[in-house]
Protein backbone atom coordinates (compact mmCIF):
# COMPACT_ATOMS: atom_id res chain seq x y z
CA UNK A 1 0.00 0.00 0.00
CA UNK A 2 2.84 2.40 0.68
CA UNK A 3 4.55 1.78 -2.68
CA UNK A 4 4.84 4.97 -4.75
CA UNK A 5 2.36 5.24 -7.65
CA UNK A 6 4.11 5.80 -10.98
CA UNK A 7 2.28 7.50 -13.85
CA UNK A 8 3.75 7.84 -17.32
CA UNK A 9 5.59 11.13 -17.68
CA UNK A 10 5.08 12.03 -14.04
CA UNK A 11 7.28 11.86 -10.97
CA UNK A 12 6.37 8.98 -8.63
CA UNK A 13 3.54 9.81 -6.22
CA UNK A 14 4.67 9.17 -2.66
CA UNK A 15 2.21 7.63 -0.21
CA UNK A 16 2.77 9.92 2.71
CA UNK A 17 -0.64 10.76 4.18
CA UNK A 18 -2.07 8.97 7.19
CA UNK A 19 -5.26 9.38 9.22
CA UNK A 20 -4.07 12.46 11.09
CA UNK A 21 -2.77 14.32 8.03
CA UNK A 22 -5.97 13.59 6.12
CA UNK A 23 -8.13 14.74 9.02
CA UNK A 24 -6.09 17.94 9.28
CA UNK A 25 -6.68 18.68 5.57
CA UNK A 26 -10.42 18.73 6.29
CA UNK A 27 -10.04 20.61 9.57
CA UNK A 28 -7.93 23.25 7.83
CA UNK A 29 -10.54 23.54 5.04
CA UNK A 30 -13.59 23.82 7.29
CA UNK A 31 -12.80 25.01 10.81
CA UNK A 32 -12.64 28.81 10.86
CA UNK A 33 -12.51 30.78 14.11
CA UNK A 34 -13.66 33.83 12.17
CA UNK A 35 -17.16 32.30 11.89
CA UNK A 36 -17.64 32.18 15.65
CA UNK A 37 -18.70 35.82 16.32
CA UNK A 38 -21.17 35.94 13.41
CA UNK A 39 -22.87 32.83 14.81
CA UNK A 40 -22.55 33.97 18.45
CA UNK A 41 -25.00 36.77 17.63
CA UNK A 42 -27.71 34.10 17.65
CA UNK A 43 -27.02 33.09 21.26
CA UNK A 44 -28.40 29.68 22.21
CA UNK A 45 -30.18 29.33 18.88
CA UNK A 46 -26.78 28.91 17.20
CA UNK A 47 -27.01 25.33 18.50
CA UNK A 48 -30.19 24.80 16.50
CA UNK A 49 -28.67 26.35 13.38
CA UNK A 50 -25.55 24.21 13.72
CA UNK A 51 -27.74 21.15 14.23
CA UNK A 52 -29.52 21.88 10.95
CA UNK A 53 -26.18 22.22 9.16
CA UNK A 54 -24.93 19.00 10.74
CA UNK A 55 -28.00 16.95 9.82
CA UNK A 56 -28.46 18.32 6.33
CA UNK A 57 -24.84 18.65 5.32
CA UNK A 58 -21.94 17.86 7.65
CA UNK A 59 -22.82 14.25 8.46
CA UNK A 60 -24.05 13.42 4.92
CA UNK A 61 -20.93 14.85 3.25
CA UNK A 62 -18.60 13.14 5.76
CA UNK A 63 -20.27 9.75 5.19
CA UNK A 64 -20.51 10.23 1.43
CA UNK A 65 -16.88 11.34 1.25
CA UNK A 66 -15.74 8.31 3.25
CA UNK A 67 -17.58 5.83 1.00
CA UNK A 68 -16.63 7.49 -2.27
CA UNK A 69 -12.98 8.01 -1.33
CA UNK A 70 -12.51 4.40 -0.27
CA UNK A 71 -14.33 3.06 -3.33
CA UNK A 72 -12.49 5.24 -5.86
CA UNK A 73 -9.14 6.19 -4.31
CA UNK A 74 -7.53 7.18 -7.64
CA UNK A 75 -7.20 10.88 -6.79
CA UNK A 76 -9.15 13.73 -8.33
CA UNK A 77 -11.72 13.91 -5.50
CA UNK A 78 -15.16 15.09 -6.64
CA UNK A 79 -14.09 14.82 -10.29
CA UNK A 80 -13.42 11.10 -10.04
CA UNK A 81 -16.54 10.38 -7.97
CA UNK A 82 -18.95 12.28 -10.22
CA UNK A 83 -17.24 11.00 -13.37
CA UNK A 84 -17.74 7.40 -12.24
CA UNK A 85 -21.45 8.06 -11.74
CA UNK A 86 -22.42 10.48 -14.49
CA UNK A 87 -19.51 10.61 -16.90
CA UNK A 88 -16.59 12.83 -17.71
CA UNK A 89 -18.56 15.99 -18.51
CA UNK A 90 -20.44 16.04 -15.20
CA UNK A 91 -17.28 15.26 -13.26
CA UNK A 92 -15.43 18.08 -14.96
CA UNK A 93 -18.30 20.52 -14.30
CA UNK A 94 -18.48 19.53 -10.61
CA UNK A 95 -14.77 20.07 -10.18
CA UNK A 96 -14.74 23.32 -12.15
CA UNK A 97 -17.58 24.70 -10.00
CA UNK A 98 -15.51 24.00 -6.92
CA UNK A 99 -12.46 25.64 -8.47
CA UNK A 100 -14.21 28.73 -9.87
CA UNK A 101 -16.07 29.26 -6.59
CA UNK A 102 -12.62 29.70 -5.10
CA UNK A 103 -11.89 32.57 -7.47
CA UNK A 104 -14.78 34.48 -5.88
CA UNK A 105 -13.80 33.43 -2.36
CA UNK A 106 -10.02 33.96 -2.50
CA UNK A 107 -10.15 37.79 -2.13
CA UNK A 108 -12.38 37.58 0.96
CA UNK A 109 -10.13 34.95 2.56
CA UNK A 110 -7.02 36.97 1.72
CA UNK A 111 -8.58 40.16 3.03
CA UNK A 112 -9.32 38.39 6.33
CA UNK A 113 -5.69 37.23 6.57
CA UNK A 114 -4.35 40.75 5.91
CA UNK A 115 -6.69 42.51 8.36
CA UNK A 116 -6.07 39.94 11.13
CA UNK A 117 -2.34 40.27 10.70
CA UNK A 118 -2.74 44.05 10.84
CA UNK A 119 -4.47 43.61 14.18
CA UNK A 120 -1.32 41.94 15.55
CA UNK A 121 0.94 44.65 14.12
CA UNK A 122 -0.86 48.01 13.91
CA UNK A 123 -4.63 47.84 13.37
CA UNK A 124 -4.54 51.14 11.40
CA UNK A 125 -2.76 49.29 8.60
CA UNK A 126 -6.02 47.61 7.60
CA UNK A 127 -7.32 50.98 6.35
CA UNK A 128 -4.57 51.13 3.74
CA UNK A 129 -5.56 49.45 0.47
CA UNK A 130 -1.88 49.17 -0.42
CA UNK A 131 -1.04 47.32 2.79
CA UNK A 132 -4.04 45.06 2.24
CA UNK A 133 -3.16 44.28 -1.35
CA UNK A 134 0.53 43.68 -0.57
CA UNK A 135 -0.16 41.26 2.28
CA UNK A 136 -2.90 39.55 0.29
CA UNK A 137 -0.51 38.96 -2.59
CA UNK A 138 2.29 37.73 -0.31
CA UNK A 139 -0.15 35.30 1.31
CA UNK A 140 -1.61 34.17 -2.01
CA UNK A 141 1.64 33.65 -3.89
CA UNK A 142 3.32 32.31 -0.73
CA UNK A 143 0.63 29.67 -0.38
CA UNK A 144 0.97 28.90 -4.08
CA UNK A 145 4.71 28.44 -3.44
CA UNK A 146 3.92 26.00 -0.63
CA UNK A 147 1.79 24.03 -3.08
CA UNK A 148 4.68 24.16 -5.57
CA UNK A 149 6.84 22.03 -3.26
CA UNK A 150 4.44 19.12 -3.48
CA UNK A 151 2.28 17.03 -1.22
CA UNK A 152 4.78 16.25 1.53
CA UNK A 153 5.58 19.90 2.18
CA UNK A 154 1.94 20.98 1.78
CA UNK A 155 0.78 18.29 4.20
CA UNK A 156 3.26 19.39 6.88
CA UNK A 157 2.23 23.01 6.33
CA UNK A 158 -1.45 22.07 6.51
CA UNK A 159 -1.00 20.02 9.69
CA UNK A 160 0.87 22.86 11.34
CA UNK A 161 -1.64 25.48 10.20
CA UNK A 162 -4.71 23.49 11.24
CA UNK A 163 -3.34 22.76 14.71
CA UNK A 164 -1.74 26.11 15.43
CA UNK A 165 -4.13 28.37 13.59
CA UNK A 166 -7.51 26.70 14.01
CA UNK A 167 -7.58 24.09 16.77
CA UNK A 168 -5.42 25.88 19.37
CA UNK A 169 -7.27 29.24 19.15
CA UNK A 170 -10.63 27.44 19.20
CA UNK A 171 -9.68 25.35 22.24
CA UNK A 172 -8.29 28.44 23.97
CA UNK A 173 -11.58 30.28 23.40
CA UNK A 174 -13.53 27.27 24.68
CA UNK A 175 -11.35 27.01 27.81
CA UNK A 176 -11.84 30.72 28.51
CA UNK A 177 -15.60 30.29 28.03
CA UNK A 178 -15.62 27.46 30.58
CA UNK A 179 -13.55 29.59 32.96
CA UNK A 180 -16.02 32.46 32.45
CA UNK A 181 -18.89 30.23 33.57
CA UNK A 182 -16.95 28.60 36.42
CA UNK A 183 -15.89 31.98 37.81
CA UNK A 184 -19.53 33.05 37.83
CA UNK A 185 -19.06 35.99 35.48
CA UNK A 186 -22.34 37.38 34.10
CA UNK A 187 -23.49 35.64 30.93
CA UNK A 188 -24.08 37.90 27.94
CA UNK A 189 -26.95 35.71 26.76
CA UNK A 190 -30.24 34.85 28.48
CA UNK A 191 -30.50 31.74 30.66
CA UNK A 192 -30.63 28.46 28.85
CA UNK A 193 -33.90 26.92 27.81
CA UNK A 194 -34.66 24.27 25.23
CA UNK A 195 -36.86 26.77 23.39
CA UNK A 196 -33.96 29.20 23.12
CA UNK A 197 -32.02 26.63 21.07
CA UNK A 198 -34.64 26.49 18.36
CA UNK A 199 -33.84 28.79 15.45
CA UNK A 200 -36.48 31.14 14.08
CA UNK A 201 -37.32 29.75 10.65
CA UNK A 202 -39.19 32.40 8.68
CA UNK A 203 -39.12 33.61 5.12
CA UNK A 204 -36.59 36.26 6.01
CA UNK A 205 -34.29 33.89 7.94
CA UNK A 206 -34.36 31.21 5.23
CA UNK A 207 -31.45 32.68 3.23
CA UNK A 208 -29.32 32.13 6.31
CA UNK A 209 -29.73 28.38 5.78
CA UNK A 210 -27.38 28.54 2.81
CA UNK A 211 -24.75 30.20 5.00
CA UNK A 212 -25.10 27.42 7.59
CA UNK A 213 -24.69 24.71 4.95
CA UNK A 214 -21.59 26.38 3.56
CA UNK A 215 -20.03 26.76 7.00
CA UNK A 216 -19.14 23.09 6.68
CA UNK A 217 -18.13 23.17 3.01
CA UNK A 218 -14.73 21.60 2.39
CA UNK A 219 -15.27 18.20 4.02
CA UNK A 220 -14.59 16.60 0.66
CA UNK A 221 -11.16 18.23 0.40
CA UNK A 222 -9.25 15.15 1.63
CA UNK A 223 -10.59 13.24 -1.38
CA UNK A 224 -8.34 15.25 -3.71
CA UNK A 225 -5.31 13.77 -1.95
CA UNK A 226 -6.40 10.13 -2.25
CA UNK A 227 -3.40 9.11 -4.35
CA UNK A 228 -0.99 10.10 -1.60
CA UNK A 229 -2.82 8.22 1.17
CA UNK A 230 -1.00 5.22 2.64
CA UNK A 231 -4.08 3.06 3.27
CA UNK A 232 -7.05 4.86 1.72
CA UNK A 233 -9.48 2.07 2.54
CA UNK A 234 -8.93 2.31 6.28
CA UNK A 235 -7.54 5.82 6.68
CA UNK A 236 -10.34 7.77 4.93
CA UNK A 237 -13.26 6.73 7.17
CA UNK A 238 -11.19 7.31 10.30
CA UNK A 239 -10.02 10.70 9.05
CA UNK A 240 -13.58 11.73 8.14
CA UNK A 241 -14.82 10.74 11.60
CA UNK A 242 -11.96 12.47 13.39
CA UNK A 243 -12.27 15.70 11.41
CA UNK A 244 -16.07 15.80 11.85
CA UNK A 245 -15.73 15.49 15.63
CA UNK A 246 -13.00 18.14 15.86
CA UNK A 247 -14.89 20.59 13.63
CA UNK A 248 -18.22 20.13 15.40
CA UNK A 249 -16.75 20.36 18.91
CA UNK A 250 -14.64 23.43 18.20
CA UNK A 251 -17.36 25.23 16.22
CA UNK A 252 -20.28 24.74 18.61
CA UNK A 253 -18.42 25.30 21.87
CA UNK A 254 -16.21 28.07 20.47
CA UNK A 255 -19.29 29.97 19.34
CA UNK A 256 -21.03 29.46 22.69
CA UNK A 257 -17.93 30.62 24.59
CA UNK A 258 -17.98 33.90 22.69
CA UNK A 259 -21.72 34.36 23.14
CA UNK A 260 -21.33 33.78 26.91
CA UNK A 261 -18.74 36.52 27.32
CA UNK A 262 -19.24 39.12 24.60
CA UNK A 263 -22.45 41.21 24.59
CA UNK A 264 -24.30 41.10 21.31
CA UNK A 265 -23.74 44.83 20.62
CA UNK A 266 -19.99 44.15 20.66
CA UNK A 267 -20.34 41.42 18.05
CA UNK A 268 -20.45 43.38 14.87
CA UNK A 269 -19.79 41.87 11.52
CA UNK A 270 -17.72 44.74 10.20
CA UNK A 271 -14.99 44.48 12.83
CA UNK A 272 -14.94 40.70 13.00
CA UNK A 273 -13.44 38.02 15.14
CA UNK A 274 -10.44 39.92 16.53
CA UNK A 275 -12.57 42.65 18.10
CA UNK A 276 -14.72 40.03 19.81
CA UNK A 277 -11.57 38.32 21.08
CA UNK A 278 -10.16 41.67 22.18
CA UNK A 279 -13.24 42.36 24.28
CA UNK A 280 -13.25 38.81 25.66
CA UNK A 281 -9.55 38.72 26.56
CA UNK A 282 -9.47 42.26 27.96
CA UNK A 283 -12.41 41.47 30.24
CA UNK A 284 -10.59 38.31 31.35
CA UNK A 285 -7.46 40.35 32.12
CA UNK A 286 -5.31 38.66 29.50
CA UNK A 287 -5.04 41.47 26.95
CA UNK A 288 -1.38 40.53 26.34
CA UNK A 289 -2.63 37.38 24.60
CA UNK A 290 -4.59 39.28 21.90
CA UNK A 291 -1.69 39.91 19.48
CA UNK A 292 -0.30 36.33 19.67
CA UNK A 293 -3.80 34.95 19.06
CA UNK A 294 -4.17 37.31 16.08
CA UNK A 295 -1.00 35.78 14.64
CA UNK A 296 -2.33 32.25 15.25
CA UNK A 297 -5.64 33.06 13.58
CA UNK A 298 -3.72 34.54 10.64
CA UNK A 299 -1.89 31.21 10.35
CA UNK A 300 -5.25 29.43 10.48
CA UNK A 301 -6.52 31.67 7.68
CA UNK A 302 -3.50 30.77 5.56
CA UNK A 303 -4.01 27.04 6.26
CA UNK A 304 -7.66 27.39 5.21
CA UNK A 305 -6.61 29.18 2.05
CA UNK A 306 -3.93 26.56 1.30
CA UNK A 307 -6.38 23.72 1.70
CA UNK A 308 -8.84 25.21 -0.83
CA UNK A 309 -6.09 26.43 -3.12
CA UNK A 310 -4.33 23.06 -3.42
CA UNK A 311 -7.23 20.55 -3.42
CA UNK A 312 -9.26 21.65 -6.46
CA UNK A 313 -6.02 22.51 -8.32
CA UNK A 314 -4.90 18.90 -7.90
CA UNK A 315 -8.28 17.81 -9.21
CA UNK A 316 -7.90 19.97 -12.32
CA UNK A 317 -4.46 18.47 -12.87
CA UNK A 318 -6.08 15.02 -12.98
CA UNK A 319 -8.56 16.34 -15.58
CA UNK A 320 -5.69 17.74 -17.64
CA UNK A 321 -3.80 14.47 -17.26
CA UNK A 322 -6.71 12.72 -18.94
CA UNK A 323 -6.44 15.04 -21.93
CA UNK A 324 -9.52 17.14 -21.18
CA UNK A 325 -7.60 20.40 -20.86
CA UNK A 326 -4.74 21.85 -22.89
CA UNK A 327 -1.33 20.42 -21.96
CA UNK A 328 -0.27 23.65 -20.22
CA UNK A 329 -2.56 22.60 -17.36
CA UNK A 330 -0.97 19.15 -17.23
CA UNK A 331 2.43 20.60 -16.46
CA UNK A 332 3.75 19.24 -13.16
CA UNK A 333 7.09 19.92 -11.52
CA UNK A 334 9.55 17.46 -10.01
CA UNK A 335 7.57 17.51 -6.73
CA UNK A 336 4.43 16.42 -8.55
CA UNK A 337 2.71 19.81 -8.06
CA UNK A 338 0.34 20.97 -10.84
CA UNK A 339 2.30 24.11 -11.72
CA UNK A 340 0.21 25.06 -14.76
CA UNK A 341 -3.05 25.12 -12.79
CA UNK A 342 -1.47 26.79 -9.75
CA UNK A 343 0.02 29.65 -11.76
CA UNK A 344 -3.18 30.23 -13.77
CA UNK A 345 -5.20 30.27 -10.56
CA UNK A 346 -2.78 32.67 -8.88
CA UNK A 347 -2.87 35.13 -11.79
CA UNK A 348 -6.68 35.17 -12.05
CA UNK A 349 -7.03 35.34 -8.25
CA UNK A 350 -4.61 38.26 -8.09
CA UNK A 351 -6.59 40.23 -10.68
CA UNK A 352 -9.84 39.69 -8.82
CA UNK A 353 -8.21 40.62 -5.50
CA UNK A 354 -7.07 43.85 -7.08
CA UNK A 355 -10.70 44.73 -7.88
CA UNK A 356 -11.81 43.66 -4.44
CA UNK A 357 -9.39 45.89 -2.56
CA UNK A 358 -9.53 49.00 -4.70
CA UNK A 359 -13.27 48.97 -5.39
CA UNK A 360 -14.96 48.75 -2.00
CA UNK A 361 -18.56 48.00 -2.84
CA UNK A 362 -21.42 48.41 -0.44
CA UNK A 363 -23.99 45.89 -1.44
CA UNK A 364 -25.10 44.87 -4.87
CA UNK A 365 -21.86 43.57 -6.35
CA UNK A 366 -20.92 41.78 -3.18
CA UNK A 367 -24.34 40.17 -2.77
CA UNK A 368 -24.21 38.82 -6.30
CA UNK A 369 -20.71 37.43 -5.88
CA UNK A 370 -21.62 35.83 -2.55
CA UNK A 371 -24.72 34.29 -4.06
CA UNK A 372 -22.63 32.85 -6.90
CA UNK A 373 -20.37 31.02 -4.44
CA UNK A 374 -23.45 29.46 -2.86
CA UNK A 375 -24.85 28.30 -6.18
CA UNK A 376 -21.53 26.94 -7.48
CA UNK A 377 -20.87 24.91 -4.33
CA UNK A 378 -24.44 23.62 -4.31
CA UNK A 379 -23.92 22.26 -7.83
CA UNK A 380 -20.80 20.42 -6.61
CA UNK A 381 -22.51 18.87 -3.62
CA UNK A 382 -25.73 17.87 -5.39
CA UNK A 383 -23.60 15.99 -7.89
CA UNK A 384 -21.57 14.33 -5.10
CA UNK A 385 -24.66 13.15 -3.21
CA UNK A 386 -26.34 12.02 -6.42
CA UNK A 387 -23.16 10.09 -7.34
CA UNK A 388 -23.19 8.34 -3.99
CA UNK A 389 -26.68 7.00 -4.69
CA UNK A 390 -26.16 6.28 -8.39
CA UNK A 391 -22.91 4.34 -7.84
CA UNK A 392 -24.62 1.98 -5.41
CA UNK A 393 -26.69 0.88 -8.40
CA UNK A 394 -24.35 1.28 -11.38
CA UNK A 395 -21.21 -0.05 -9.68
CA UNK A 396 -22.69 -2.15 -6.92
CA UNK A 397 -19.81 -4.62 -7.02
CA UNK A 398 -16.99 -2.11 -6.72
CA UNK A 399 -15.33 -2.84 -3.39
CA UNK A 400 -16.02 -0.12 -0.83
CA UNK A 401 -14.02 -0.82 2.33
CA UNK A 402 -16.23 1.75 4.01
CA UNK A 403 -19.95 1.48 3.24
CA UNK A 404 -22.59 3.73 4.70
CA UNK A 405 -24.48 1.51 7.15
CA UNK A 406 -28.10 0.53 6.54
CA UNK A 407 -27.76 -0.71 2.98
CA UNK A 408 -29.72 1.14 0.29
CA UNK A 409 -31.97 2.78 2.88
CA UNK A 410 -28.90 4.23 4.60
CA UNK A 411 -27.50 5.51 1.31
CA UNK A 412 -30.80 7.07 0.26
CA UNK A 413 -31.17 8.63 3.71
CA UNK A 414 -27.68 10.13 3.70
CA UNK A 415 -27.72 11.15 0.04
CA UNK A 416 -31.33 12.33 0.31
CA UNK A 417 -30.72 14.52 3.36
CA UNK A 418 -27.67 15.98 1.67
CA UNK A 419 -29.55 16.68 -1.56
CA UNK A 420 -32.48 18.26 0.31
CA UNK A 421 -30.11 20.50 2.28
CA UNK A 422 -28.10 21.55 -0.74
CA UNK A 423 -31.10 22.09 -3.05
CA UNK A 424 -32.75 24.24 -0.34
CA UNK A 425 -29.51 26.21 -0.05
CA UNK A 426 -29.45 26.67 -3.84
CA UNK A 427 -33.03 27.94 -3.93
CA UNK A 428 -32.70 30.31 -0.97
CA UNK A 429 -29.42 31.51 -2.45
CA UNK A 430 -31.52 32.99 -5.26
CA UNK A 431 -33.73 35.04 -2.95
CA UNK A 432 -32.61 38.64 -3.43
CA UNK A 433 -31.90 40.88 -0.46
CA UNK A 434 -35.02 42.87 0.42
CA UNK A 435 -33.69 46.24 -0.65
CA UNK A 436 -32.31 45.04 -3.99
CA UNK A 437 -34.04 47.29 -6.52
CA UNK A 438 -34.79 44.66 -9.13
CA UNK A 439 -35.38 41.08 -7.97
CA UNK A 440 -35.55 39.63 -11.50
CA UNK A 441 -32.27 41.29 -12.43
CA UNK A 442 -30.67 39.83 -9.30
CA UNK A 443 -31.83 36.27 -10.00
CA UNK A 444 -30.84 36.55 -13.66
CA UNK A 445 -27.45 37.97 -12.71
CA UNK A 446 -26.70 35.26 -10.17
CA UNK A 447 -27.77 32.47 -12.52
CA UNK A 448 -25.90 33.92 -15.50
CA UNK A 449 -22.73 34.36 -13.43
CA UNK A 450 -23.06 30.82 -12.09
CA UNK A 451 -23.53 29.36 -15.56
CA UNK A 452 -20.52 31.29 -16.90
CA UNK A 453 -18.33 30.14 -14.03
CA UNK A 454 -19.54 26.54 -14.35
CA UNK A 455 -19.46 26.43 -18.15
CA UNK A 456 -15.78 26.39 -19.25
CA UNK A 457 -15.53 22.57 -19.08
CA UNK A 458 -18.00 22.44 -21.99
CA UNK A 459 -15.67 24.70 -24.00
CA UNK A 460 -12.64 22.56 -23.21
CA UNK A 461 -14.46 19.33 -24.05
CA UNK A 462 -15.76 20.83 -27.30
CA UNK A 463 -12.28 21.94 -28.37
CA UNK A 464 -10.54 18.81 -27.06
CA UNK A 465 -7.81 17.52 -29.38
CA UNK A 466 -5.95 14.21 -29.46
CA UNK A 467 -2.74 16.18 -28.91
CA UNK A 468 -3.99 17.07 -25.43
CA UNK A 469 -3.56 13.47 -24.36
CA UNK A 470 -0.32 13.13 -22.42
CA UNK A 471 2.26 11.24 -24.42
CA UNK A 472 5.44 12.90 -23.40
CA UNK A 473 7.19 14.07 -20.31
CA UNK A 474 5.98 17.42 -18.97
CA UNK A 475 7.94 17.43 -15.73
CA UNK A 476 10.50 20.10 -15.02
CA UNK A 477 13.00 17.55 -13.82
CA UNK A 478 13.17 15.93 -17.22
CA UNK A 479 13.09 12.52 -15.59
CA UNK A 480 10.37 9.91 -15.61
Amino acid sequence: MSEPVIKAGKPPVKKILGVFSLAMINVAAVLAVRNFPSMAIYGWSCIGWYLLGTIFFLIPIALAGAELATGWPQGGGVYTWVKQAFGEKSGFIALFCEWSNNLVWFPTALSFIASTLAFALTPELSASPWYMFTVMMVAFWGTTAVAYFGEEFSAKFGNFGAIVGSIIPAVLIICLGVLWVVLGAPLAIPHFSVGAMIPQITLSTLPFFSTIILLFAGMEMAGFHALEVRNPQTDFPKAMGLSTLIILFCTVFGTLAISFAVPVEKLNLASGVMQAIQYFFTTMGIAWLIAPVAVLITVGGIALLASWLIGPAKGLAVVAEEGNMPPMFDHTNKYGAPVGVLITQAIIGSLISLLYVFLPSVNQAYWILSAMTVELLCIVYVLVFASLIKLRYSQADTPRPYRIPGGMIGVWLVGGLGIIGVVCAFIVGLIPPSYYPNAAEYVFGVLLGTVLLAGPPLVFLKLKKPSWMPHENHTESGEV
Binding site: I41, Q200, A217, A270, V362, L448, P456, K465
Partner: protein, 150 residues
Protein backbone atom coordinates in the same frame (compact mmCIF):
# COMPACT_ATOMS: atom_id res chain seq x y z
CA UNK B 1 -5.92 26.27 -37.56
CA UNK B 2 -3.21 24.18 -35.96
CA UNK B 3 -3.50 22.51 -32.59
CA UNK B 4 -1.35 25.11 -30.83
CA UNK B 5 -3.63 27.95 -31.97
CA UNK B 6 -6.69 26.02 -30.80
CA UNK B 7 -5.03 25.41 -27.44
CA UNK B 8 -4.17 29.08 -26.93
CA UNK B 9 -7.62 30.13 -28.16
CA UNK B 10 -9.30 27.71 -25.74
CA UNK B 11 -7.34 29.06 -22.80
CA UNK B 12 -8.05 32.70 -23.70
CA UNK B 13 -11.74 31.94 -24.24
CA UNK B 14 -12.05 30.21 -20.89
CA UNK B 15 -10.22 32.96 -19.04
CA UNK B 16 -12.55 35.51 -20.66
CA UNK B 17 -15.61 33.48 -19.69
CA UNK B 18 -14.35 33.29 -16.11
CA UNK B 19 -13.62 37.00 -15.97
CA UNK B 20 -16.95 37.98 -17.54
CA UNK B 21 -18.97 37.78 -14.30
CA UNK B 22 -16.33 39.85 -12.58
CA UNK B 23 -16.41 42.46 -15.35
CA UNK B 24 -20.15 42.65 -15.01
CA UNK B 25 -19.78 43.04 -11.24
CA UNK B 26 -17.39 45.86 -11.99
CA UNK B 27 -20.10 47.60 -14.01
CA UNK B 28 -22.72 46.98 -11.31
CA UNK B 29 -20.33 48.28 -8.67
CA UNK B 30 -22.09 50.46 -6.14
CA UNK B 31 -19.53 52.76 -4.50
CA UNK B 32 -19.99 53.54 -0.81
CA UNK B 33 -21.04 57.12 -1.57
CA UNK B 34 -19.58 60.52 -0.73
CA UNK B 35 -17.87 60.75 2.63
CA UNK B 36 -18.37 64.47 3.08
CA UNK B 37 -22.17 64.43 3.15
CA UNK B 38 -23.69 66.72 5.80
CA UNK B 39 -25.45 64.44 8.26
CA UNK B 40 -25.56 63.33 11.88
CA UNK B 41 -26.49 60.32 13.94
CA UNK B 42 -29.73 62.06 14.95
CA UNK B 43 -30.69 62.50 11.30
CA UNK B 44 -30.11 58.77 10.75
CA UNK B 45 -32.19 57.93 13.81
CA UNK B 46 -34.97 60.26 12.58
CA UNK B 47 -34.90 58.53 9.21
CA UNK B 48 -35.32 55.15 10.89
CA UNK B 49 -38.29 56.42 12.90
CA UNK B 50 -39.78 58.05 9.77
CA UNK B 51 -39.45 54.67 8.08
CA UNK B 52 -41.74 53.20 10.74
CA UNK B 53 -39.03 51.28 12.57
CA UNK B 54 -39.64 50.92 16.31
CA UNK B 55 -36.37 51.17 18.20
CA UNK B 56 -36.64 49.17 21.41
CA UNK B 57 -33.34 50.22 22.93
CA UNK B 58 -30.39 52.49 22.26
CA UNK B 59 -26.83 52.27 23.59
CA UNK B 60 -23.62 54.19 22.97
CA UNK B 61 -21.11 51.97 21.25
CA UNK B 62 -17.65 52.46 19.79
CA UNK B 63 -16.26 49.79 17.53
CA UNK B 64 -12.70 48.69 18.15
CA UNK B 65 -11.69 49.34 14.57
CA UNK B 66 -9.29 51.94 13.18
CA UNK B 67 -10.88 55.32 12.57
CA UNK B 68 -14.08 54.65 14.48
CA UNK B 69 -15.45 57.78 16.15
CA UNK B 70 -18.24 56.07 18.07
CA UNK B 71 -21.94 55.74 17.47
CA UNK B 72 -25.04 53.97 18.65
CA UNK B 73 -26.43 50.47 18.71
CA UNK B 74 -30.18 50.11 18.38
CA UNK B 75 -32.19 46.97 18.94
CA UNK B 76 -35.48 46.39 17.20
CA UNK B 77 -37.82 43.52 17.93
CA UNK B 78 -41.34 42.42 17.19
CA UNK B 79 -41.85 42.50 20.96
CA UNK B 80 -39.94 45.27 22.72
CA UNK B 81 -40.92 43.92 26.15
CA UNK B 82 -38.99 40.74 25.38
CA UNK B 83 -36.09 42.33 23.57
CA UNK B 84 -33.36 40.77 25.74
CA UNK B 85 -34.66 37.30 24.96
CA UNK B 86 -35.23 37.77 21.25
CA UNK B 87 -33.60 40.81 19.68
CA UNK B 88 -34.69 40.61 16.07
CA UNK B 89 -32.32 43.08 14.48
CA UNK B 90 -29.38 44.97 15.86
CA UNK B 91 -28.58 48.19 14.04
CA UNK B 92 -25.12 49.66 14.48
CA UNK B 93 -24.54 53.25 13.39
CA UNK B 94 -20.88 54.14 13.52
CA UNK B 95 -19.05 57.29 12.45
CA UNK B 96 -15.62 57.15 10.81
CA UNK B 97 -12.90 59.74 10.67
CA UNK B 98 -11.90 59.16 7.04
CA UNK B 99 -13.11 57.59 3.83
CA UNK B 100 -10.29 55.01 4.01
CA UNK B 101 -11.26 53.80 7.47
CA UNK B 102 -14.96 53.71 6.56
CA UNK B 103 -14.20 51.67 3.45
CA UNK B 104 -11.94 49.37 5.48
CA UNK B 105 -14.93 48.62 7.74
CA UNK B 106 -16.95 47.72 4.63
CA UNK B 107 -14.13 45.45 3.48
CA UNK B 108 -14.18 43.82 6.92
CA UNK B 109 -17.88 43.09 6.53
CA UNK B 110 -17.37 41.78 2.99
CA UNK B 111 -14.63 39.38 4.09
CA UNK B 112 -17.02 37.16 5.99
CA UNK B 113 -17.15 33.49 5.31
CA UNK B 114 -18.52 31.84 2.13
CA UNK B 115 -22.10 32.38 1.19
CA UNK B 116 -24.52 35.13 1.98
CA UNK B 117 -23.42 37.65 4.56
CA UNK B 118 -25.24 37.47 7.83
CA UNK B 119 -26.25 41.12 7.68
CA UNK B 120 -26.60 44.20 5.54
CA UNK B 121 -24.29 47.21 5.40
CA UNK B 122 -25.19 50.74 4.24
CA UNK B 123 -23.29 54.01 4.27
CA UNK B 124 -24.45 57.56 4.79
CA UNK B 125 -21.67 60.11 4.59
CA UNK B 126 -19.09 59.24 7.25
CA UNK B 127 -21.48 56.75 8.88
CA UNK B 128 -21.64 53.01 8.42
CA UNK B 129 -25.04 51.50 9.16
CA UNK B 130 -24.85 47.79 9.85
CA UNK B 131 -27.93 45.63 10.31
CA UNK B 132 -27.38 42.18 11.69
CA UNK B 133 -29.53 39.47 13.16
CA UNK B 134 -31.95 36.80 12.13
CA UNK B 135 -34.61 39.01 10.57
CA UNK B 136 -33.53 41.52 7.99
CA UNK B 137 -36.94 41.77 6.33
CA UNK B 138 -37.37 45.06 4.52
CA UNK B 139 -35.83 47.15 7.30
CA UNK B 140 -32.71 47.89 5.26
CA UNK B 141 -34.71 49.06 2.24
CA UNK B 142 -36.91 51.27 4.45
CA UNK B 143 -33.86 52.90 6.03
CA UNK B 144 -32.19 53.38 2.65
CA UNK B 145 -35.31 54.99 1.22
CA UNK B 146 -35.86 57.26 4.24
CA UNK B 147 -32.23 58.40 4.14
CA UNK B 148 -32.39 59.21 0.44
CA UNK B 149 -35.58 61.25 0.98
CA UNK B 150 -34.33 63.11 3.99
Amino acid sequence: MNYKTIEIGAVILVVLIILLPFGWILLAHEPPGPFTKETSIDKIKDAMIRAGIVLCSEKDNTWDVPGSRGGKTYVISSDCSDVEQSPDIIIHVQKFKSEETRDAAIRGFNSQTRGRPNGVILTHGPYVILLQGPLHGDVASKIKEALSEG
